[in-house]
């Protein structure tokens, strides 16, 4: 029979410290724009508060229990020839004590848990800026996000503009399968369903651009169903709203036009021929059969609404930076970039045609 070799006492702590070190070093890769640990809105702050309470308690429990385990492992190491230890079977008192202590610890966690459940369940009646909450409808699609502002008559996609210090009252549904709306720095996630509305809310406390993601597996491109939350100052938000409203007043042949053109119904002044050609191609190549270029009172047809596409930060659902090169790549090689999306160009486009299309799209700010 082999003899048992007692492990060196420092094996376990050293191994685990190394692992911890590697892990923490791995974390030295810079900013965390999607982190739940840096809340910038009230909902996320409430969640973070109860979460951190749990973390502190868990750390204490961890140290105590793992510590007891490690202590036992090293203090009571034996050898094959050793005499039998005291044959104890248990202790009722000990059982009671170590049943009650965890119960007390859990009660300490339970109270703020239930409090936070109820406080996060109710949409506040007024925002920090004194205004009533702003309703935004969120509709999840395979694989993009549609956003509608019923009070403002605006439809857009993949980029959610909100004013800072305003409570956003999200009313959410899905167009197809279950998705989940998640912008970690502002709120927890909420699933969206085809057959019922779910609700979420948050109030952003700082301006900026914040990434969000779909957080419920929804098919092939679940991994590329991101979006951006743009928290604007009040004037910047109003400017964005104005630009979206202007979408409807820019009509020529039923299509919104270059902003230089002002009045509806009148023959337009000479515009950039490339832009004009792009506008024609947008229809003739079938883009308009799936995408609306206007944000006003429209229902999403099949593909994401493209209002303001020219100035959006990202394309392809919060993924590719909105550069001309990426836009070209997306139009020409959609299926290679994001297989299985519905966007398969009805007819082929040449490089020159894409240049025109991009010029046109860039005018939609």
């Amino acid at each position: 029979m082999r003899h048992s070799r007692v492990p060196r006492w420092w094996f376990a702590p050293l191994g685990l410290l190394c692992t911890l070190a590697i892990v923490l070093l791995a974390g030295c890769s810079g900013p965390y724009p999607q982190s739940t640990l840096e809340p910038r809105g009230d909902f996320a702050e409430m969640v973070d508060s109860v979460f951190m309470k749990t973390v502190y308690l868990a750390t204490v429990v961890f140290i105590l229990v793992e510590g007891a385990l490690l202590w036992a492992v090293f203090k009571f190491r034996g050898k094959p020839g050793d005499p039998d230890p005291h044959q104890i079977h248990g202790s009722t008192v000990v059982e009671i004590v170590w049943t009650i202590i965890p119960a007390v610890v859990l009660a300490i966690v339970a109270v703020p848990t239930v409090e936070t459940i109820f406080s996060t369940a109710k949409v506040p009646t007024t925002s920090t800026d004194g205004q009533p909450p702003m309703k935004v409808e969120v509709i999840g699609h395979q694989w993009f996000w549609e956003f509608r502002y019923p009070e403002l008559g605006i439809t857009t996609a993949n980029e959610l503009h909100v004013p800072v210090n305003r409570t956003i009252d999200l009313r959410m549904k899905s167009n197809d399968v279950i998705h989940s709306f998640w912008v970690p720095q502002f709120a927890g996630k909420r699933d969206v369903f085809p057959n019922r509305e779910t609700r979420l809310w948050f109030t952003a406390k700082v301006t900026g651009e914040f990434p969000g993601a779909c957080a419920e597996f929804c098919g092939t491109e679940h991994g590329r169903m991101d979006f951006y939350l743009m928290v604007d100052s009040a004037p910047a938000f109003q400017a964005w709203v104005d630009r979206r409203h202007a979408d409807s007043t820019m009509q020529f042949n039923g299509m919104p036009m270059h902003p230089v053109v002002a009045a509806a119904g009148q023959a337009p002044p000479p515009v950039d021929t490339l832009v004009a050609e792009g506008q024609k191609l947008f229809q003739s190549k079938g883009c308009s059969s799936c995408h609306s270029i206007s944000s006003m009172h429209v229902l999403t047809v099949i593909g994401p609404n493209l209002s303001g596409i020219g100035s959006r930060k990202m394309i392809a659902a919060g993924w590719l930076p909105n550069t001309d090169a990426n836009l070209r790549d997306w139009i020409e090689h959609t299926q290679k970039l994001k297989p299985d999306v519905l966007m398969k160009l009805p007819m082929p486009v040449s490089d020159a045609e894409v240049t025109a299309l991009i010029a046109y799209l860039r005018t939609m700010r």
């Binding site: 724009p33 982190s35 739940t36 109860v50 339970a110 936070t116 989940s180 970690p184 927890g188 990434p211």
Partner: protein, 628 residues
């Protein structure tokens, strides 16, 4: 112990059976157990390979190692395989081999039913994996949420394989549930009252109760999904665009699934608890601390386990009352779980710890399970879970409890019971190397996931962008996963080397407390030549104390003449084949599928015929099979 050697009698036909036929028709619980274990280990390696590819894909951002579609198949099959084709059947290997031995019985209550469970499992696992050959492996996640699983959104055969494969496997589990429940209640050796049973046997008993009460629910869920996908109903489809009436509720799937799914995770962990409760006393040289508390806490966990299912649905907007109820119930279940952990530490405390490989893995289990349990308590806080669920944080949590918990414990069980099953000792040095590689690899793989999850990385994404800070953590996880792969290669090498030239194992290499160590390694077909009489728990320690020795004399191998054993039978295998054909028929295209086309009818006929012949076949043929 009987020592007279008598002449065996056999019919000529029986003597001429080939090895293959012997194994295909076996009803011996020990052989059934070995077949479970061997198949499960192969499936485990496949599931592990799936994980390695996943980790290679996620190693760096914007990676293109695999397509998104294939990635979705990989993670779906990884989860499904590890749960249903690895952890459960490896546990089943131990149930099969050791429950009869631990209770002093010759076999299970229904040996042929036992064999049927085995074949149904093997065929079900092959069926599920066959989908890869068609390039159409299941791709809807291991919990198959509707309506993504509907015909409308999953038009291929992928989810048909999943749905029918799980249904097949469920039947294996239900049959085994009836079998082991009856065996444990009714076939204990004289004097072995319930409170004198080994803890592993208790864990199996409670696990079977969970199986019997939870599997019917997923059976119904899968039937309704089959109706949706095959016959065009809309149980889970809200939209009528899929061809049905519409109006269905995807939430119904979630409720039905998780009413099964939560008890299922206790099905995965309770046997692991039982194994650790067997190993710690032996290697601490003192009894399990708080036996009664351990029994009652396990029963309480199982009971409460039926009342927490919607904690998997915290992000679905159920409302504050439901959220609060399930938060509180989930926290409640932490109490009996904590009691068990403390009792294990209490067992070690004051003991004389013998550091052999089984103890290493058992200690690893406790350490890792504590961590998994603590992240579980964090999940119990519903608002916090809104940030954690569906991210790598929950991936970390469940791997800590399922791998750090179940797998570490099952590995401990393998090293502990290997000598009894195969008559050889696995190498200690390689075992310890396996342990350290596995511990380090495991933590390096899964600890970073707590961070990447909290930093905003959702789960089930085939890639992630640069600039979100996930890169380093993912690289660390991938390296850890490769170390884990090496650790399993070490184990495999140990197994093969032992097979070829391992040290022969005595009956009782560890100084065991339970009855299986009183018989030769490996046991003779009938297990006990003489039925043991039990007077207290830790029955073998009691016998040793009575004899005044630490180890009993090596038991002799004897002739088993006169011991009637259940005869081998073909009918369990044929019934399983009929069932497989019946299920396959359901997924073949209409009109074969509806109402139940020729293939399903043929499968039904084979199964019905086999059951009929089975029921008229005697349990043992007096002249055809005598122990020898």
């Amino acid at each position: 112990m009987a020592t007279t050697v008598l002449e065996p009698t056999q019919t000529a036909a029986y003597a001429k059976r080939s090895v293959l036929v012997e194994w295909l028709t076996t009803v011996d619980h020990k052989r059934v157990g070995i077949l479970y274990g061997a198949s499960a280990f192969v499936f485990f390696l496949i599931g592990g390979l799936e994980a390695e590819v996943i980790r290679l894909q996620l190693m760096k951002p914007d990676n293109h190692l695999v397509s998104p579609e294939f990635y979705n198949q990989l993670f779906t099959m990884h989860g499904t395989t590890m749960i249903f084709l690895a952890v459960m059947p490896i546990s089943a290997m131990f149930f099969n081999f050791f429950v009869p031995l631990l209770i002093g019985a010759r076999d299970v209550a229904f040996p042929r039913l036992n064999a049927m469970s085995l074949w149904v499992f093997i065929l079900g696992g092959l069926f599920l994996n066959f989908s890869f050959i068609l390039g159409a492996a299941p791709n809807g996640g291991w919990f198959g949420y509707a309506p993504l699983s509907s015909r409308q959104f999953a038009p291929g055969v992928n989810m048909d394989f999943w749905m029918l494969g799980l249904q097949i496997l469920g039947i294996a589990s239900l049959a085994a549930g009836v079998n082991f429940f009856t065996t444990i209640l009714n076939m204990r050796a004289p004097g072995m009252t319930l409170m004198r049973m080994p803890m592993f046997v208790w864990s199996v008993l409670v696990t079977q109760v969970l199986v019997l009460l939870s599997f019917p629910v997923i059976t119904v869920a899968l039937i309704l999904l089959t109706a949706d996908r095959t016959f065009g109903s809309s149980f889970f489809s809200f939209s009528a665009a899929g061809g049905g009436s519409g109006g269905g509720d995807p939430m119904l799937w979630q409720h039905l699934f998780w009413v099964f799914g939560h008890p299922e995770v206790y099905i995965l962990i309770l046997p692991a608890f039982g194994i650790v409760s067997e190993i710690l006393p032996v290697f601490s040289r003192k009894p399990l601390f708080g036996y009664s508390a351990m029994v009652f806490s396990m029963a309480f966990i199982a009971f409460l386990g039926f009342g927490v299912w919607s904690h998997h649905m915290f992000a679905t907007g159920m409302g504050p009352l439901a959220d609060s109820f399930f938060s509180l119930m989930t926290m409640l279940i932490a109490i009996p779980t904590g009691v068990k952990i403390f009792n294990w530490i209490g067992t070690l405390w004051g003991g004389s710890l013998q550091f052999r490989t089984p103890l290493y893995f058992a200690l690893g289990f406790i350490a890792m399970f504590i961590m998994g349990g603590l992240s579980g308590v964090m999940h119990a806080v519903q608002p916090a879970d809104l940030q954690q669920t569906d991210t790598y944080f929950v991936v970390a949590h469940f791997h800590y409890v399922l791998f750090g918990g179940s797998i570490f414990s099952l590995t401990a069980g393998a090293y502990y019971w290997w000598p009894k099953m195969f008559g050889k000792m696995l190498d200690e040095g390689l075992g310890k190397l396996h342990f350290w590689l596995m511990l380090i690899g495991f933590n390096l793989t899964f600890f970073p996931m707590h961070f990447s999850g909290l930093l905003g990385m959702p789960r089930r994404i085939y890639t992630y962008p640069k600039g979100l800070g996930f890169d380093g953590y993912n690289m660390a996880s991938t390296i850890g996963a490769l170390i884990l792969a090496v650790s399993f290669m070490v184990f495999l090498y140990n197994v093969i080397r032992t097979w070829r030239s391992g040290e022969h194992a005595p009956a009782d290499p560890w100084g065991g407390a339970t009855l299986e160590w009183s018989i030769p390694s490996p046991p003779q077909e009938w297990n006990f030549a003489v039925e043991p009489m039990v007077t207290e728990k830790d029955a073998l320690w009691a016998m040793k104390r009575a004899a005044g020795v630490r180890i009993l004399p090596e038991p002799a191998r004897v002739s088993g003449k006169g011991i009637h054993l259940p005869s081998p039978s073909w009918w369990p295998l044929f019934t399983a084949i009929g069932l497989l054909i019946f299920m396959t028929g359901i997924m073949l295209k209409r009109p074969w599928a509806f109402p139940f086309g020729p293939v399903s009818m043929a499968g039904f006929a084979i199964a019905a015929f086999s059951i009929f012949k089975w029921s008229y076949e005697p349990v043992d043929h007096p002249t055809s099979h005598q122990a020898h």
